[in-house]
Symmetry: C2
Subunit: 426 residues, 2 copies
């Protein structure tokens, strides 16, 4: 629920915040369209300047003229490892535990199957997988599917009841699969507490970092997280459907086996051997050939994080989401009276780099905002989602977006046929 | 074994063949480097001219300025279906049975699991999967892995003993998984005969068309093939690691279920429902978000097949592989005496669009040829592989390549340190 309150935040004040912003320089690393405030970097990150020239080179030089030789000469073959090493820093991991490959869905399948295999060998009486109701669909579908495949019992409590459900499972708890930052609300799970509890119970954890990586620091190694997956195309800005990343803690790699085995994960892929033998390290998480153009775009995009202090990134992110909610709450007649609710946690520290609101006409409001150049997105049935990518957004952007939202809602600008009609991708 | 014989094929004769070639016009649809004869389109297809402008548009306009809106406005969301419809014509399929997604490896996993599920429900006593020894490693690894997962018995006969092995399995035969054109030898399996035998025994077939699609016509619908996968980056020229395609015959789609379930395969992906419900048609073969840049490159690349008669394509392909072997065999002192053998079938009709040779120094010979601008590839331990993509190669190319190979072998030009030293990707 949004509550009206007085707030002195002016556009001038926001401009002063921008002038003092230690990350303001990073905005120049992106191509941003004129007249647009882009609050959907949590769905598809903006285009880093480094990407277009890299892709032109990859296509017009390396593919056109290097042809097959570019696997060696242009470094295509090692691109997954290079991109992974860049991501490793952003998630607090030594790079030999991270691989870039496939989609989150495919990687989550690998992790679930591999983790279940490890637990079966350690203690076959562990048969409970705790996930969470309302997680991103791919996670829930795969949790259910892999649990059925291996005969595990899937327990899907509400997010705030995850730890009780873990406790209840006792020493039958095999695995916990959660998303760190919730895709709808932006609520952050207690990664240290849940991971520690899982380990205390003898269980393993798989964290989905889709809305984490590139938006805030996280410390997989320090927290002794077992497994993680994450997205290349949200805050990492790798382009639509960019390959995902997958993390396997060093202590599990040698015993990690899963059924999605392809030649790129073999110990000697170019020996073309009849029998499967997994690569000795994280390479075994590879499967088939990666989509090189999308992969090179991701690799280039990750340069936007060069020299970026992740604590500053998180501080700016929290300042922006706070500014946004403050501005909304300072609008007389806004908030609850206008049908709006707050779907994100009120405390900035408890949410990721997004603010989610609810409104029965959320879809049309988002469309009307897009028509005014403020791009957020909608998640059925009633969520308006605004992501604040700290690398390329300014405090003035946040100010102007809040004002535009207030105007669209208060003037009912959304109540037009072209905003009410649903598109294929919402 | 190559046998020396007299042959009157001159470069002038080849030029005359090119002048009369009804597909010669298609060469202009590709960007080909000067001074290179590219005989590795069976590993990575050459760059179609349509790709670079399409990708520039996708990145510099649709991503940069359209941002998230491009999922609708630039048609990203329907790109898998559009690319699939173009591929459908090339494999003799109605388009509602083809999807573009993921890699061959990932799709083969889906098909094996889905086909086993269907057979289990029809007759659980069918427990034998017949594959083949020496198939491309990804196929064999996945055959073994999925067979183990579902408790099937995997039988891997030599390629020429596949039909006996099927017969031997009798009514326990559940599934046959083969590659149509062998990646090393180019040998073509008898798809009509094997498919018909499998069906007569109550079994289903999964064909891997990695070295088929775009090189020769094939009639999946007419032969009542059950399932197929294929590659986007070989003869379809979609760029390194381009998304693969997958075919499920219409009669199996509604009962097709497999455990690699992601939100893009859901009946209502944007309803974000908790429970999995597969999309009603071939859409259920999707899993996570596709790598859009690689996907759009593939879609653009497929325009190179616009208006191409596939029978003419096959005729030219056979003429080129025949010309190549004729030229080699016409070289006095060449062939067996020089240590070369023929690893492909002697009859053009029995091989795909490639000619494979054997030589103990195959690796170094291929490197020496590459240094002279004739690009083939090497497959351990001793295979020299030359692919003849009919869309962009000329008969004069074939002539010159054969002469270059003869010269490299007879002069031992390969016997230099820089050609003998192995690279990462061979």
């Amino acid at each position: 629920m949004l509550c009206a309150m007085e707030s002195p935040v002016t556009r001038e004040h926001c401009a002063a915040l921008d002038a003092a912003d230690p990350l303001a320089f990073a905005r120049e690393r992106f191509v941003l369209p004129e007249g647009v405030i882009y609050l959907d970097g949590n769905s598809l990150g903006a285009l880093p300047r480094s990407v277009a020239p890299r892709l032109r080179e990859a296509v017009e030089r390396d593919w056109a003229h290097g042809l097959i030789r570019s696997w060696n000469d242009a470094g295509w073959y090692s691109a997954p490892q290079r991109a992974a090493a860049r991501i490793a820093r952003l998630i607090g991991a030594q790079p030999d535990q991270v691989m870039v490959a496939d989609s989150i869905s495919v990687n989550l399948f690998k992790l679930l199957a591999g983790a279940i295999g490890i637990q079966r060998r350690r203690d076959p009486r562990r048969t409970v997988l705790v996930a969470e109701r309302g997680n991103f669909p791919t996670d829930v579908y795969l949790d259910a599917s892999v649990a059925a495949l291996y005969g595990l019992e899937l327990v899907c409590p509400e997010p705030h009841e995850v730890r009780q459900a873990m406790t209840l499972a006792g020493d039958r708890l095999a695995l916990v699969q959660l998303t760190h930052v919730h895709y709808r609300s932006g609520r952050i799970h207690d990664m240290p507490g849940i991971t520690a509890q899982a380990h205390a119970q003898g269980a393993l954890v798989i964290w989905d970092l889709a809305h984490t990586a590139g938006a805030m620091p996280v410390s997989l190694d320090a927290l002794e997280v077992d497994f993680a997956v994450g997205c290349g195309y949200k805050y990492l800005n790798g382009g639509a459907g960019a390959p995902a990343f997958v993390y396997v803690a060093r202590r599990w790699i040698d015993s990690f086996e899963q059924p999605l085995v392809g030649w790129h994960g073999h110990a000697r892929p170019f020996a073309f051997e009849h029998h499967w033998e997994p690569a000795p390290g994280i390479g075994r998480l590879q499967c088939g050939t990666q989509p090189v153009l999308s992969l090179l775009a991701l690799e280039a995009a990750l340069e936007a994080f060069d020299g970026i202090d992740l604590d500053l990134l998180r501080a700016k992110s929290m300042a922006m989401t706070t500014l946004f909610t403050d501005l909304l709450e300072a609008s007389p007649g806004f908030g609850t009276e206008a049908g709006l609710g707050l779907a994100s946690p009120r405390e900035a520290a408890a949410r990721g780099s997004q603010v989610s609101l609810t409104h029965p006409q959320g879809y049309a409001i988002v469309q009307a905002l897009i028509a005014r150049g403020v791009i957020g997105d909608f998640r059925a049935p009633d969520i308006l989602r605004f992501g604040f990518a700290p690398l390329y957004l300014s405090h003035v952007d946040v100010h102007d977006a809040a004002l535009a939202l207030r105007e669209v809602v208060l003037s009912r600008a959304w109540d037009r046929p072209e905003f009410l009609a649903r598109k294929a991708v919402t």
